[in-house]
């Protein structure tokens, strides 16, 4: 399978990328790790006229502790998240979720920014970023704009980014010492989640993200409201499928996914919640 023909530009800076996007508008697509886009192009489900390769924009590959939050460059690869000591200390959920994306070869290339911008409900990192209450930083012709993760995903494979905008950074509040859990249900190693759950719980923040339970990555808001209202993790987990619209496909029906979500959220909360309740 070979993609249809396109023009290729490689840029080394954010400014260069924004200039290319401004010139080509929605004819162009950014190429980061290419591990969502190239498969789509090979299947001819995507056929951009211009590819703007941002894979070497070094200024966007970083993981920084800025005091109250962590700042992660959009082009940071899954492998770098997986082994980052900063994430291990302050956001182990994200490092762990990254270590379950695809396989080592995929993690050597794929980026966190590409994973979010691609807005695939079956992706692992968006659910983790949602659960942690992350904020995305986009840069465009009008400057920088901050988008809470909860307002970023618009529809299936669709985010609120404009064609002339680029995701440059992901900000995650530091939740040092918080309880957390990542549950990914697959039939075989390396597969995408049939359903996944990313949960984090501390004295100040509780978040539960769902993988593959709708047209976008989702938050299980009913679960969190129940917990905040004093429900036990087991009772709260029964609300895991409220407000979701899971797909039916070869891996399972919508009803099966709803059941899985309740089971996995229960497991996730049992793992994430008691830890911090004990130190509250």
């Amino acid at each position: 399978m070979i993609p249809s023909a396109f023009d290729y530009e490689r840029v080394d800076t954010v400014d260069g990328a924004l200039a290319s996007l401004a010139e080509h508008g929605d004819e162009a697509k950014l190429l980061a790790g290419g591990h969502s886009l190239i498969p789509l192009m090979k299947m001819r489900l995507a056929a951009p006229a211009v590819l703007v390769d941002v894979g070497r924009v070094q200024e966007l590959s970083f993981i920084r502790d800025t005091g109250d939050h962590l700042a992660i460059g959009a082009l940071t690869r899954h492998r770098d998240l997986e082994v980052s000591p900063v994430l291990a200390e302050h956001a182990p959920l994200l490092a762990h979720a990254a270590s379950h994306v695809g396989d080592p070869q995929v993690r050597h290339r794929g980026t966190i920014g590409g994973s979010l911008a691609h807005a695939d409900p079956a992706s692992d990192l968006p659910a983790a970023v949602l659960a942690m209450g992350g904020t995305l930083v986009a840069q465009g012709p009008g400057g920088e704009r901050l988008i809470p993760a909860t307002g970023f995903f618009r529809g299936f494979l669709e985010s609120v980014l404009e064609p002339t905008e680029m995701l440059v950074e992901i900000r995650i509040p530091k939740l040092t010492g918080a309880g957390w859990s990542f549950q990914k249900f697959t039939r075989r190693a390396q597969d995408w989640a049939i359903v996944g759950v990313a949960a984090v719980h501390s004295a100040t923040h509780t978040g539960v993200g769902l993988v593959n339970m709708g047209t976008t990555p989702l938050l299980a808001t009913a679960v969190v409201e129940a917990l905040e209202g004093g429900a036990s993790p087991e009772d709260a987990a029964t609300l895991a499928a409220v407000g979701t619209e899971p797909p039916t496909d070869d891996n399972g029906t919508a009803a099966y996914r709803e059941h899985l979500a309740r089971v996995l959220v229960r497991r996730a909360l049992q793992e994430a919640v008691p830890l911090t309740v004990a130190d509250d």
């Binding site: 399978m1 070979i2 993609p3 249809s4 023909a5 396109f6 023009d7 290729y8 490689r10 190429l31 290419g34 591990h35 190239i38 498969p39 192009m41 090979k42 006229a49 590819l51 390769d53 894979g55 492998r79 695809g102 396989d103 080592p104 070869q105 995929v106 050597h108 290339r109 190693a189 390396q190």
Partner: protein
């Protein structure tokens, strides 16, 4: 639209300069332009790992990478591992532990293992199984492959 782009890629230590179409996949560049056919295409959908090569030392699936993305980089294929007649320790261990049958997955499996051992020089069996999750083998049932990688890890200099 789309003329050609010039790329300079070191393949197994040998510099190559070529004009390529941007849509040329790295695996086709290696097989058809450079003429090294050790890298196999299995699934062509990023799933099986048969096309695994090292890009600047890290395992990647060359069916999911454009040749232009490797411009300025160094690529190692299965042809580049042995030192003259002397097999690479991972190749040697695959031979000794019978880590292959038909051999179709082997180039990718060996390169994935080399990358794994670079990152995790003293892996547990679990590390090896997880580390090779991107590579499928229809023949061996994996046990001998895992043994081979553990043996190579022990025998590493």
């Amino acid at each position: 639209m789309s003329g050609t782009v010039s790329v300079q890629i070191q393949v197994n230590g040998v510099p190559h300069a070529d004009q390529v179409e941007p849509r040329l996949l790295l695996v086709h560049y290696l097989r058809d332009v450079v003429g090294l056919t050790g890298t196999n295409v299995g699934c062509d959908t990023s799933s099986c790992g048969a096309c695994t090569v090292l890009l600047d030392g890290e395992s990647v699936k060359s069916c999911t990478l454009l040749a232009v993305q490797a411009d300025g980089c160094s690529v190692t294929t299965i042809e580049g591992l042995a030192c003259g007649e002397e097999l690479h320790p991972v190749q040697q261990a695959f031979q000794e532990e019978h880590g292959l049958q038909c051999g179709f997955c082997t180039p990718g499996m060996v390169l994935a293992a080399v990358s794994l051992l670079c990152e995790t020089p003293e892996p547990t069996e679990e590390d090896v199984r997880r580390g090779l999750e991107g590579n499928l083998c229809r023949c061996t049932g994996y046990h001998n492959i895992v043994r081979a990688v553990l043996r190579a890890a022990k025998e590493q200099p």
